[in-house]
Amino acid sequence: MEDKVILSIENLSKAFGKFYAIKKVSLQVSKGEITALIGPNGAGKTTFYNVVTGKYKPTSGRILFMGREITNLPAHKIARLGLGRSFQITNIFLENTVEENILAALVSYHRKGLSLFKGMNRYKDLLEEAHSILEMLGLKDKAQETAKNLAYGDKRLVEIGIAMAVHPKMIMLDEPTAGMTPEETERMVSMIQTLFQETGITFFLTEHDMKVVFSIAHRIFVLHQGSLLAQGTPEEIRNNPKVKEAYLGGSLDA
């Protein structure tokens, strides 16, 4: 049973001054599932991401990833252990090519970053891997484009590609469909499902679009005013009166 848990959060709190953005949150994420974290705006979802992935230090509580305590580790060490993340705001390397965006992550994963004299273009294995990732994302034709020239939806895919390229055991996506048109959202959702099926990576995501959440998540956590309000299967969450109240009704049926 313990082995099934990949990420375990114990009594996690994060305060900014006197304001607690996260209050004593405890939750466990199971390996090989798609877990969603939902909650109204300002519920503390992004803060939760930033604390778990090492951007902020928690005020109290513990975080265990694959049985190992990562509570106060810096971001790059947490990433190295196999906990990847993407960002709500597109956070890619805009002036570099699409291929270079993915390559940077591969260089890090394969520990070639301190190779100073061998040309990047002589690492055929890394280039091949980058191309297969871009192919999976449907971006192969755009490999040589400067990232800033991509359409918004494609930039979001590059974001996912960077996160995938470091071979994570678990990946945390922060609102992967934020700001997308319905078509782009559909493409992103099917991409996440494909990646999940092909790689078996544990997915954790926040999402404001309830239709997306209920269609792909195996398990859902609800955050409200910094505290965990409910957890369960999509069916259980849909019928939970406390959750309905937190969302002021209506929007859950969207």
Binding site: K55, I92, A105, L114, F117, K118, G119, M120, I162
Partner: protein, 322 residues
Amino acid sequence: MKGMAKIGVLVLTIAFLFLFPQFAGAFPVLFLTEIIIFSLFAMSFNLLFGYTGLLSFGHAAFFGLGGYAMALLAQHYHISMIPSLFISMVVAGASAAIIGFFCIRRDEIYFAMLTLGFGMMVFTLVHQWRSLTGGSDGITGFEVPVLDLMVKKFQLFSPWSFYYFALVVCLIFTLFLWMVIHSPFGLILRSMRENAERVSFIGIDIKFYRWIAFIIAGLVAGVAGGLFAMYDRMASPSMVHWTMSAKPVLMTILGGSRVFFGPVLGALIFYLLEHTITQYTQSWMIFLGAILIPIVIFFPEGVLGTLISWGKRFMKGAGHGG
């Protein structure tokens, strides 16, 4: 096609640089030597600025320390050229390792201020430590070390022979910087320039990488400084002054920070302007400022960067037309 054009320009430029002294007098040769040395200095600065996204206002510290190391070695120890230059490089690199250790803890304006602060400390140290550095007089009156290439020894007294030596050294270190920039390490640097936070989330210790970049930039600046002290037959506090730190900044902005040879063209323009304008007035900085302002406003990519953009657009236009 594009690659061929680039290689063609590069080969012609290098050929010109090697042939130039054959038909030029002492003054043009000296003038070009200084441009070549400052090109290397500016390129070393641009590894941090254009490629890593760190604006240093204290890069002259390493240029100057390389220069002082070189002058002290020439004055007291009389060892030959290559070992002297190597020691100067190591002195500059070791200083960069220490100063960089503190500076890379912050980025953006805070990094710039830290480098400026350390630069001023180095200047004060050099200026005050009379017994070692000669204070405001600097170090002069030494002989240029002999270039000992095992099979043959060369005297570097004449402007021509020193020109060739400086040219070869600068070409070697230009190649070195080019390789670093095109390596996986270079890709990580460019990614940090774009988005340092994202780089840490792919598992890279950004402070460590910035530190390595800082040390490499310091090493190469030390070589340029060592060459300059030999060229000038002098190591003086002006070499570590903050106005000296401003030179690679200005040259790089003039030429273009996102193009590898941008700082080289910048150095050339800087010296040509200085030479032309100082024939008419001593306050040439006013005119340099008047030229820099429109460049920054209208051509933020610098002269070379803008030319390359235009070239690309022209090629695209021609492609559509045909």
